[in-house]
Point group: C2
Chain length 464, copies 2
């Protein structure tokens, strides 16, 4: 009779539920050899089967019929094993798996790039298709998966409708930033970007404009999907392809918007800590010491609101009192740099904050003009250790004002439909955008956006 | 004191929970006027606030201070209203909202394209940004949202890890089908597709190859994201951009794969029926009479397995007995047309089925060759009323066989990494792909894929 096949996740979850694992009897397990060491009479294999972060310790004796083969199993080899769980309360592992039979299901050459030694993130980036087999990336990509589910749970539990806004678009939300064109190729290899759709098509930089239309039908909506920027900036925070979360709320103003931002950030941090305790422990211990402290402070602190105008004044005061900024030319109307944002959130507020009501000249055309005629109802969410992590705004719902602004800026052809939303049953509404990959950086302490993405795409990088 | 703001969803859910709605006292509600009729002394507004499929019936009297304005409110206008719920057990609506105050929050011109009359789907497709305000598309896009969550719940509850496989790719899964190229534009407007990434880049047609690598780390994984085809076919089932669900299971063979397909389809149908009862009722009554019967039959029936070879024989028998096919030249080795698939599932099996073990020449290079040397371990899931809805296969895990096949087919440069997965800890594994938009067509009875997508993209169509 074949023994029951079981996963490492199931074993650990039965253990957590205080079940008697020895009662499982003979079981069958399969997975990949992480390490293998043999001392002659007894040998140990750390087996990972992909179903949880933890390994299972396999113990074999020299009485195995294929002991010689087993004792020489290389890191990376796929094996199946029969055996029983034995409790070892006095050891580091609370239990181990005593094997009676081991079979090789897939060999692994000795030129396998992931040998036992520690590899740099740069090295592993070159082996993107293999790196989820390492602790760091196994933890990271499982968290990415779980957190993506958390995004849907947060919004849908609150009645939000998820909208698959298009990747291919004929118009552009931000206007800023280089976009990728979409082209087809004729038989001679000549590229043409108007041939297929009959007009120029590009990859979306934001789903916001498209999702606003759905907010006028469903009230509360969100998009969550890939977004593209053809930026050549080679920084740790920029990628050409990344996922964005963009909620939009009808009948909501900037205050409602900020409350939603704060709730969503806190929810997602809590979700990560609760649903991926092993993975988060690993990040806290091995990747970013102090991570839990940082995240817990965000959870416990009400986010402070501060006017842009006040922020500028505080920065000017800081310069006067001798604080060093690389850019110390602070004036009302300027776009803040990361060093300025971090000063405000780290030194002044000492916690998460919203900076609100920015000069209209430095913000997007769709943001709602305030009564002062100089600022718009925009807000950036700033957090210690990072600076800006979310940007949002109340949208301009007044037809005439938006039309005037679009005319002034020019280049808004093809957006008549967007303007029409203000003519046919418009209302005040607001929204924001969170870069999902940057959020993962913040929650895990991983320092490079390339290490949060399964197959990162940046300028000159398209290996897989 | 301002009355409590409340949503229509909340009112109906309190009603379902048998709460006494009259105890809510004075409440405030806002949303959009669907219809407005006034008989002089009393008037009725059907209000939809986007939070649920159902409208709320607002009743106003000529004692309203702005009665003249209210009685002339046009379809599409955004309003806010104060009032109280009154139970009307003898009426069609079990309760109504007696208003004491109505304010206009956003006007709607009389040239609003969604007037009260019934519009054709073709007309509404031209107004894609407005159509979610109609019953059909409101129901459809809410279902799309809920079902997307269902996809994540199904897989993640079973321990699958969600992988954001890249949209921009340097290699291609299927080889078949035209792909979109990604290009950047220089200042003179000249397109270049190697400039940015240093090599040719295109939009993905499938995340399968990329997700297979993650199955070798996490065991059970899935992708769920946009996929692209530059096909010019102008059919009701083809779009240039659509969402695909692609699970991949390590240590699973074709049988495991089929079990997973059957479980996932049944789960998603049940999820739609349970989570969107009002919307599904609407589809069953107004869009596709007989829908519930069709879906319930799928839920109740174990999916039958049939060999391709047997399928061919049955089709040949059908031709002999006089059954008419447009293509009646049936031979072993042919690719089945939809009419053939539908004959098998509708006339022979009279229920959902898997057709398995296809000739290797008509299937993709990565499918596992069977011992007969002629067929591969592929399967298509066929359902009555539709034909194929899912395709899957066991993948070739043997290095030498896959390498030989890739060499024979040529043009597989850049896929060395995919081959390496068979060298470094490979194992038997399988997977499949479901087109999410086609699944929505099947579950709702909607006949055109363009009507399942928020902003459909097809050849020559890029209005928004």
């Amino acid at each position: 009779m074949q023994p029951k096949a079981i996963t490492v996740r199931e074993i650990y979850s039965r253990f957590s539920a205080k079940e008697d694992l020895t009662k499982l009897g003979e079981i069958y397990i399969c997975g990949w050899v992480r390490t293998n060491r043999d001392s002659g009479s007894i040998g140990f294999i750390a087996l990972n089967d992909g179903t949880c972060f933890k390994n299972l310790q396999l113990v074999y004796s020299n009485e195995l019929s294929n002991h010689d083969e087993v004792s020489h199993l290389l890191t990376g080899t796929t094996i199946g094993a029969k055996g029983t769980i034995v409790m070892t309360p006095e050891m580091k592992q609370p239990f181990e798996f005593r094997v009676s039979f081991v079979e090789v299901l897939g060999t692994c050459d000795s030129d396998y790039p992931l040998q036992k030694k520690r590899h740099s993130f740069e090295y592993l980036r070159e082996e993107a298709y293999l790196r989820p087999r390492t602790n760091t990336f196994n933890a990271l990509f499982r968290l990415r998966s779980v957190l993506a589910r958390g995004v849907h749970e947060f919004f849908q539990d609150r009645g939000f409708v998820y909208v698959h806004t298009p990747e291919i678009t004929g118009n552009d939300a931000e206007g800023a930033g280089q976009v990728f064109s979409i082209a087809t190729m004729d038989e001679k290899g000549k590229l043409n970007d108007t041939d297929f759709f009959g007009k120029r098509a590009s990859l979306t930089v934001s789903g916001q404009l498209h999702v606003e239309a759905f907010a006028m039908a469903f009230r509360d909506v969100y998009t969550f999907g890939p977004t593209f920027r053809a930026e050549r900036s080679n920084t740790t925070r920029h990628a050409s392809e990344f996922w964005m979360i963009e909620p939009e709320i009808a009948f909501g103003d900037l205050e409602d918007d900020m409350n939603l931002m704060e709730d969503s950030i806190k929810y997602l941090i809590r979700y990560a800590l609760e649903k991926c305790p092993d993975e988060m422990d690993f990040f806290n211990k091995m990747i970013a010491p102090g991570l839990f402290e940082k995240l817990n402070r965000v959870l416990e602190t009400p986010f402070r609101r501060m006017e842009y105008t006040e922020g500028i004044k505080l920065l000017q005061d800081a310069v006067v009192s001798g604080h060093h900024f690389d850019n110390s030319d602070i004036f009302w109307g300027m776009d803040l740099q990361s060093e300025h944002e971090r000063y405000l959130t780290e030194e002044v507020v000492k916690g998460p904050m919203f900076l609100i009501n920015y000069p209209k000249e430095i913000k997007a055309f769709y943001m709602r003009e305030n009564d002062d005629g100089k600022t718009v109802a925009a807000c950036d969410c700033l957090v210690p250790g990072e600076g800006e992590i979310i940007g949002g705004s109340q949208r301009e719902e007044r037809y005439e004002i938006l039309e005037k602004k679009m005319k002034e800026l020019g280049n808004k052809e093809g957006l008549e439909w967007y303007l029409n939303l203000r003519k046919w049953g418009g209302c005040i509404h607001s929204g924001f955008g969170i870069g999902f990959d940057r959020l993962l950086m913040y929650i895990t302490g991983i320092g490079n956006i390339r290490d949060t993405e399964p197959y990162p795409r940046t300028s000159s990088q398209l290996k897989y």
